[in-house]
Symmetry: C2
Subunit: 372 residues, 2 copies
Amino acid sequence: MSAPKKLLVLPGDGIGPEIMHEVRRIMDWMAQARGIRFDVSEDLVGGASLAVHGQPITQEVIDAARAADAVLFGSVGDPKWASAGFDRRPEIAILKLRQELGLFANLRPAKVFDSLADASTLKPEVVRGLDIMIVRETVGGIYFGTPRGIETLPDGSRRGINTEVYTTAEIERVARVAFDLARKRDNRVCSVEKCNVMESGLLWKEVVTALHAREYADVELTHMLADNCAMQMVRNPRQFDVIVTGNLFGDLLSDLASMLTGSLGMLPSATLGARGEDGRLPALYEPIHGSAPDIAGQGKANPLAQILSFAMLLRYSFDMQDEAALIETAVSNVLDKGLRTPDIMSAGRTEVNTDGMGSAVLAELERLNAAA
Amino acid sequence: MSAPKKLLVLPGDGIGPEIMHEVRRIMDWMAQARGIRFDVSEDLVGGASLAVHGQPITQEVIDAARAADAVLFGSVGDPKWASAGFDRRPEIAILKLRQELGLFANLRPAKVFDSLADASTLKPEVVRGLDIMIVRETVGGIYFGTPRGIETLPDGSRRGINTEVYTTAEIERVARVAFDLARKRDNRVCSVEKCNVMESGLLWKEVVTALHAREYADVELTHMLADNCAMQMVRNPRQFDVIVTGNLFGDLLSDLASMLTGSLGMLPSATLGARGEDGRLPALYEPIHGSAPDIAGQGKANPLAQILSFAMLLRYSFDMQDEAALIETAVSNVLDKGLRTPDIMSAGRTEVNTDGMGSAVLAELERLNAAA
Ligand SMILES: [Mg+2]
Ligand SMILES: [Mg+2]
């Protein structure tokens, strides 16, 4: 038997610790009921780290993240540190982790659970069964390219400049992530750019097309212009399986896709790096929601996005497909039973607190496991 | 009495001529019923011009557009000329007009007529009454900035580059269009950029803010990040009145807003330049739909977007608010009566052809005018 997988847990600020607590209960259950043990360590990030160490993340935590097989992140951000200065914002913690671990591919699933289909502003028949995965390049493109800045012109007026840059290598590595993911899903990738007006988009399309022909001919590949993609997401979002795109278009399209589901509090995400020569894949998993300091400590937080982030971790970092599916089915069933935290509450449903939702998921895991 | 306004009508290809014919009938009606005469000339663009002159637009037409008080454009594009070469595409006609007339501000209304609210994929209660105006900068930003291109690196791999550039003057002139429009509407402007990660967006925000304080303090100004704007358009699109944004974000957001309405065949647009020292405002009006060559000449085309483009022309170029409102009310009433061209047909409605729809609008204009 191989050594247990090393997991670094970073609850962070606000509701982070209380929703992470519900995941820890699921980890304990997995050890007891299915004999799966993780080597878990937990540490401070964000405002929690600032309070103790005077910095949003310490070198020790970065080193531990690098040594771990996967990182489960809660959320950072705390109004107490709003005026701490640009380099001491709690948010630095996640930016630094992405940078230091080389996490270049952001995975944003937009999935609609049947019993929450009505939460969308789109008609239920348009979004029921929606299951999109957006793969966004996150360390390149116009948010990082140079030259950049604001210059003053001779006449006193100003000029703002940013540069979109993508290289063959940057495009290939994120496209690989998308193609690999598609093979575990519906085997379809839609690559999105603006090749009609941007050379960087033209290169993007050419590189993805060539990589596909060389290594991924078994996956269905289509191409779409970014403006049309924004339209198609509203017109018929279920046409998509995996979407791969650059940093800027991915920024807009992944947020748009999340909103189609109508319940941002339910959505997990992952950020992946390049597999090293030792076979290890740098990976960090986190809910897309924030630290919600206004409801922290009141038992109102919805732990499901954090729990689903853990399921993603099991699926993509540890290839534990059965356990990931078990958790996702348990979440779906609990929702079908009508249990709701305040953020997703609607008429005729049963409101529960953070702990109640966690307990319901655990009970359902127990039932599913016994029935299997 | 001042000289009649000069109007250049360019029907173009595909369904262009047949839907423009319905507008010509409305012009005739306005002369007869309200004594408003235009000095109208009509000419060829697109494939129609290629067939006669061997080029998608002639210098004579460009000069006539410059001399006109406004241009009413149909649509261009014809599969017959698909392989005519990059510089002889029918689409060159509209690109050249924008360039030669200095049309830098694209106005894209996204309006939901009550009786078509169900055509949207969004729930009727979310889009009913929607009336957004997106002002998109169209001659600057990343689609035009330099340096641009694809270069081969020493190791044989490639790098694609595009440059986003905005100057104070470019931002101010498009923001002025937005503020001026807002004053004729609900007096609210939302300026959209990504100032958190792009210096060009930071300059955009600063310039809009300063212009607002200097000249438009009576208009309500808010700022929103582009990714959040994409989300908010799905979450609650009716929160917006006028949105002003750059070329790239405007490309995605205006298409997204159009799709919210569920009926692209209904939407007009305008492209405006800078008012000259003679007080003239270069302006071109056109439906957002294409030339639809597949249904041309069959009486299936929906003339309403072309008719509503004419209403926009009356409103923004000639300040004929009453006549613009009369046409818009007539269109709305005809839809309320259940008349539908095939593209917007649904169960229980009455299908009519292009001419039938035009006649119904005329009859309603007659009725409204008599009742007034
Ligand atoms: Mg975003
Ligand atoms: Mg577009």
